[in-house]
């Protein structure tokens, strides 16, 4: 990524979290990966002043307690938190999910590939993009 701020991963599936972690390691992404299991946990992290604000949030949609769309609704209503780009990383190919996500100003929407190698490619793309793209400062 463009800076060394942490990347916030909101993901309830351990293996998927491991996959992202492994992909980061394989791709030698230096940003630390902060793992939260659902929307509520992620909000707690974001609202804790002692925590560093992430440069990018990777968000799963299907999660217990607070799902991805609910999380987005809260975040995008927050003047500070809405600046942090959110990339949806999900298994859902549903048109409604895609439309709903982009209505809530997500920066990207990637369907998790089943194959690990393809998964790595996806993470590589995200890494590349956010290295090229400017990121909002502060927070």
């Amino acid at each position: 990524m463009r800076n060394r701020k942490p990347v916030l991963l909101v993901e309830d599936d351990n293996v998927d979290a491991m996959t992202v972690k492994r992909a980061f390691k394989d791709l030698k992404v230096l940003n630390p990966l902060v793992l939260t299991a659902d929307g509520e946990e992620a909000l707690q992290y974001l609202r804790n002043k002692s925590n560093k604000k992430p440069c990018v949030t990777l968000l799963d949609l299907n999660m217990p307690k607070m799902n991805g769309i609910e999380f987005l609704k809260v975040v995008k209503a927050d003047e500070v938190l809405k600046k942090i780009p959110v990339v949806v990383l999900t298994t859902s190919k549903e048109e409604s999910d895609i439309v709903e996500s982009f209505k809530l100003s997500v920066a990207g929407y990637i369907v998790k590939p089943v194959d690990y190698k393809k998964f790595v490619e996806a993470i590589r793309a995200i890494e590349l993009y956010w290295t090229l793209s400017e990121l909002p400062d502060g927070g």
Binding site: D16, M18, T91, K112
Partner: protein
Amino acid sequence: MSILQNMAIKHKLISIIMLACITSLVLAGAAFIGWERSTFRSEMVDSLSTQAEMIAENCTAALAFQDAEDAKQTLQALHVEPSIVFGCVYNKDSKLFATYYRDYAEIKVHPSEFQEIGFSFAEGFLTVYKPIVLDGEMVGTVCLRSDMSPMYAMLKHNISIIVTVVLLSSFAAFLVSSRLQKVISGPILSLAEVAKVVSEKKDYSTRALKQSNDEVGLLIDAFNEMLEQIQQRDSALVDAKEQLEVRVEQRTAELTTANEQLTREIAVRKKAEERQAQLLKQLESTNKELNDFAYVVSHDLKAPLRGISTLANWMSTDYADKFDEEGRGQINLLLSRVDRMHNLIEGILQYSRVGRVKEQKLQVNLNELVPDIIDMIASPENITVTVENELPVIECEQTRITQVFQNLLSNAVKYMDRPQGQIRVGCVEENGFWKFSVADNGPGIEERHFEKIFQIFQTLSPRDEVESTGVGLTLVKKIVEMYGGKIWVESKMGEGSTFFFTLLKQKVGGKNAKPQASVVSRR
């Protein structure tokens, strides 16, 4: 006549009878008096003529001898006849020769002048002139004059008698006709009275009394018969009215019953309809739940599956040196089963998405879409796919129609066992439907499998030979049926299969209609 017409029939009859009687009596009296007068006259003429002839006979000598006194004596004999008031004899030269007067002044009875032979009635006298003939030669004329007044007096007397008789007869006729007119007018008046009663009281049971067997009797009979008929008709009318009332009442009752029944039926039907609607709603919600269920389940199945896949992948790479050949083979089998599982779940997801997720319907030009799908399938070089004829423009969700052709074409490619594979796409119009066909010259399908192949997860080849989920045709069937069409297969083993499906032909979608939106190819 108009006076007669407006009279009462009684007076009419009396008047007619009286008129007839008086007319005949007067005529008879007049005739009698006329006859008597003429008889009197001719008798007088005869008698006076006879006397004049006698005088003439007796005076021939006096004339011959110019003896006027003798002639006068002869004339004097006339005094025995009181009616003769004057007599005279004229000589050959019509000069007065001798005269006779009776009680009257000369001027009064003397004829004004000499007249011809014969008789004449004048001034109340009968005057007769007779020639006096001697030896065949007229020597003078006799003139006798008779007074008519006795005769007139007699006539007057007779007339007064006749008039009296006429008056008495008329009176008698009046009395008789007054009595007898009742014979005719009585029944008519009573008939009129009955008619009046009938018309005033509307009582058709009244009858006129028949008093005679004449025309009036016939009239009364006819009148009574008419009354009888009217009475019958009246009572029939009353009966009919009563019957009608009864019938109306009956009908009203029937109608009320029918109405009540109808109301009940409507209520029952309404209830049934409500129940049907409820059931339909339930069915719809059940269907939706099922779809949602399939979606959620498949979705949730995918997550652990991906975990398995990822972990197996890592194991095969991270511990590659620890696995022997058999171990690696097993890991690969595990990965391939994971793939198959993934495909199955994808299939279910696709299947549940049909009907659950609605896309906007567009005018899709199949002449553009189908070649795109053929390109997308990327069939091997030994298989040729051709579109046989011009395809229509149809209004539908583009994703769905793409799925239909994609599955049918990819099946045909997948199962092709010939070195020269041929796949043909065609379309004909049939009974308001477009009938599409996808025909191949592949292995063919046994007839017993014609139904089975459209059921979910049914495949005819072992999965390790041909990778198939068994969802494709089920999906196609669901889509086609959703659009109100049918799908079926015709096939002969070893010769190939033809899949047919129909789509309702819309009014707008002609073969030459312009598509509203251009086809977006590939996904």
